[in-house]
Symmetry: C2
Subunit: 155 residues, 2 copies
Amino acid sequence: MTLSTNDDLRFMQVALEEARTGLEEGGIPIGSCLVVDGEVLGKGHNRRMQQGNPILHGEMDCLQNAGRQSAATYRRATIYTTLSPCDMCSGAILLYEIPRVVLAENHTFLGAEQLLTSRGVELVNLDLDEAVELMRRFIDANPDVWSEDIGEESE
Amino acid sequence: MTLSTNDDLRFMQVALEEARTGLEEGGIPIGSCLVVDGEVLGKGHNRRMQQGNPILHGEMDCLQNAGRQSAATYRRATIYTTLSPCDMCSGAILLYEIPRVVLAENHTFLGAEQLLTSRGVELVNLDLDEAVELMRRFIDANPDVWSEDIGEESE
């Protein structure tokens, strides 16, 4: 099944809605969803703050919520994420050989995109101002939380 | 703080104990612990089966259980794992810039060791028969579960 730009924009809205839910919960506004055969199989958002959990980036929470899936299922999936995937989330994408990643932006943070493409993963960047703005407002108010989330020292 | 081989063997026993706990719970016997300044900060084991959770490899469960830590803490940590870390777990190690990984074996599965060393992570393989044997018995009895855990199709 080939996804069109309209499909990508529609599924990214699911990921953005997750990001906004995270923000309402007091968390880092990054969301994700996993789509297989045109259906959302799972969705999630960063829950570092909500659960005190350093592994629950948006994509990881999404994969957790999607539950156990077969290799064949992952291999026809697209994962949507509101921010360029970090080393950890990219590693999960490589482990399960998810062939396609759609991101909303990489201005805020540039993840392991080069590693993903070098391993044959298709990357699409929708470059949505809405996603950049969501992160900008959060980081301005919570710079230390953001540094922690990407493994950096606080300023 | 420099860790000796004796320290490494001692902390690996903590990871192996986690692996055995996982086996008793009906799970995949892979365990891990995170050591900082000579203290075990967290430990965990693969809980795919126990929680129906595809992201809870041993190292991920360990990092989850260790909870939120500062960048400075991760940067003086050693993570112990009873099996060579996969792309996902290696990605988490890179995200948090954990500088040292001690593994019990890489006969059962060869993870992203090259990626880790290319990024400056020190890898020590203790090459313990005990860890190989634990996995061999599990995989012989549960080949499909093991394939799923490493993102492969079942035979």
